[in-house]
Symmetry: C2
């Protein structure tokens, strides 16, 4: 992996220029617009046509039966089910701690103010077909929705001649998904956004997908809420001179294997560690099943930056704002206050990133491409909306009435002022 | 205002067909793309060119000096400043109750899990020029950002030959805005998203604007966070048979005067109330300074729906999901549990909607066009991001290692499994 040296400014310029990749292309935009329009107008009929055309599958019934889900679950090994159950337990106990409760405030005489939290009524989860169907991601999306109190969690996934992956069905069952529909692509997003005869309209759509799915999500945004549009995976590692090169290399490769555009990054003050990790990466790459993908990621996207000291390593990492951040130093928790921008942080030499992908409990649906500057991991709050409320007695309103009418008239909004004054006029119907 | 009657289904079909208006047009998209590209490449030079071209103003210095802000503040009447101070006090005390604190969880042996909340580093607030420059909106946007701990709150507003509205400068000073820049339009959004020599890059851009501003916000989304793209104002009123027609009409008109496309809505089981309110609206319209705007809103967008009973009125309103909701009944707080979708709720006969626009404290930047189904009022959480963290001892990792490797290999991610296994191999550099 290439080793970068130089001043902090030079390093910064080299590593922070990457941006969120464009999520779409004009011809895709137009095709997706067309699909959405057709699904809105023709409902299930359009969905069947698109399934035949894009997925080469004739679908008679979109809803996957309980019996099929049960059969998928039973087809999984006990070893896999045990792992999924452990994941569920820890994801649940982590995310339960995110629950907020709203408030009610009666501190001013005659005034009640408050905020109530209400779960979204329905959430939709897109699960890609084939090898990109990750059971772990179903758990990560559905469990926080369940904890938030979402009553209707629906999953859509492309129809497949050989049937849906049993691990996916098992994860859906365990995570508490309420209904699974076999429909994919932009047409699935349109169905979730607007509803059809078979598929219910939802309030929020989550989950990864190809360029058609991502473009459709962008197009329906506003009509429905969406989760972030995630880019290729990233791992940033901050390591001191004692770091274990073999383990660091293995962690960097765990993200490199996801995608040719994944970004493995090591920042360390130790040139020795840098060289050792670089050599280890070459050694370990050779035996990886996904060597080609990982090698492209390492060669084109990855880097090792040498900083003056550990402190500067944190400064650089905060500018990068990585999706995953490993802190491979002694007493790692003492550095927590140095971390300003990152999605999910792994503290200490034992906390290898894949721990967080599966069973630790924190979410693995995370902001990428520097967006951890302002976006957060998926969590319970993504499935809750806040409703404000206020109640005033007549004497309480009287105390603030002149402030309201002054501000309203300053802004040229006379009817606003008169609405308040109507409360103090002789009563009339 | 038109009175709708009929079955619940008939009413639903008539009142829920409205959708978020398209935020843009192709020729605007292209023009805005061009502006953003130029600002990224040429920075301040481009900003000056656009200010000359669009705002007919030659700007030498974008930053508005402290002396100018102070002079604006001093130009305001004591009455206005007192009203702004009251607004600040109540907005602050309301939003302080929204602060969340993250958590740390050490319940499993050898495992630390947690979440830390970090404020965004910088937030940008767009304030339109002319009559649409609302000092109240500056308070509503900047105060929650301040409470969240945002260190750099910057405001941009179009340069104006006669100088910036003193009430706007006073609100900026009182709300804790850190810097004001005179720059407007899509070029201001581009400057906030990417930074120029004079104007700092921010992490989130808020605030209303014309179609160029809204389009620019959509185009830079992802590069930076944005608040919602708000549509025309809405007020929904649920009223029983005892409601005061004069007051209801005044409240409905307070939102109608905002915009020809604003939507005043009354839902009541009482035909008598409906008729009385309709007559009152006609009477009050005649003396409103903004009569033309309010009349267009009332005639084209407004309605009164007659429901079977109060319960059905709540059902209908939940389907509409109005930005503002008044509950004009006895014991209004007992109906709080019936409200599923609304931005800000005003309970009882005294709680006239403009109370919430200015001094009650809840935010007035709210979801419109039915998006209260899934979006929330602006609040402290909009200026905070969550960072997850996890730490495991070696024995704690050992307990979950086989679950991780099982799941990783099920998903075809061998390097993920090997990263975990590297923690249990003979140590090697």
């Amino acid at each position: 992996m290439k080793i970068l040296t130089g001043s902090f400014e030079a390093l910064t310029n080299q590593v922070t220029k990457r941006e969120q990749q464009a999520a779409s292309r004009p011809e895709v935009e137009a095709a997706v617009q067309d699909i959405i329009k057709n699904v809105r107008e023709k409902g299930d009929v359009a969905l069947k046509e698109y399934s035949a055309k894009f997925d080469k599958t004739q679908v008679d019934e979109f809803r996957v039966s309980d019996a099929t889900i049960e059969a998928g679950y039973n087809a999984c090994s006990e070893e896999l089910l045990t792992a999924l159950r452990l994941a569920k337990k820890n994801i649940t106990s982590y995310h339960e701690q995110e629950v907020s409760r709203g408030f009610i405030d009666a501190k001013q005489p005659g005034v009640i103010r408050g905020q109530k939290l209400t779960p979204l009524a329905a959430a939709g989860l897109y699960v890609p077909g084939g090898t990109a169907a990750y059971p772990s991601t179903i758990m990560m999306a559905a469990i926080p929705a369940k904890i938030a109190g979402v009553k209707n969690i629906v999953m859509v996934t492309p129809p497949q001649p050989e049937g849906i992956n049993p691990a996916v069905l098992a994860a859906a069952k365990l995570a508490g998904v309420d209904a699974v529909y076999q429909i994919g692509g932009a047409q699935a997003i349109a169905a979730l956004a607007f509803g059809t005869e078979s598929i219910p309209r939802v309030d929020k759509i989550m989950g990864p997908g190809n360029i058609f799915v991502a473009t459709a999500k962008k197009q329906v945004f506003g009509q429905v809420a969406i989760d972030m549009i995630a880019g290729p995976s990233e791992i940033g590692v901050i390591a001191d001179e004692k770091a274990n090169a073999r383990q660091l290399a293995a962690d960097l490769l765990s993200q490199a294997e996801h995608d040719k555009f994944a970004r493995p990054m090591l920042v360390t003050p130790s040139l020795d560690v840098a060289k050792a990790v670089s050599a280890e990466i070459e050694r370990q790459l050779k035996t990886l099943p996904r060597e080609e993908i990982a090698r492209a990621s390492v060669n084109n996207e990855g880097f090792i930056a040498i900083t003056k000291d550990l402190d500067q390593a944190f400064d650089l990492m905060n500018l990068i704002a990585p999706e995953h951040l490993e802190v491979q130093v002694d007493e790692p928790i003492t550095y927590l206050n140095r971390i300003q921008n990152a999605g999910s942080v792994f503290l200490g030499r034992t906390a290898s990133e894949p721990l967080g992908d599966y069973v630790a409990g924190p979410n693995h649906i995370l902001p990428t491409a520097g967006t951890a500057r302002f976006f957060s991991p998926l969590g319970v709050e993504d499935f809750v909306k806040r409703i404000q409320f206020v109640q005033y007695t007549q004497p309480a309103l009287e105390k603030v009435a002149s402030a309201i009418t002054t501000l309203a008239r300053t802004e040229g909004l006379e009817a606003h002022a008169r609405a308040i004054e109507s409360r103090f006029e002789a009563d009339a119907k």
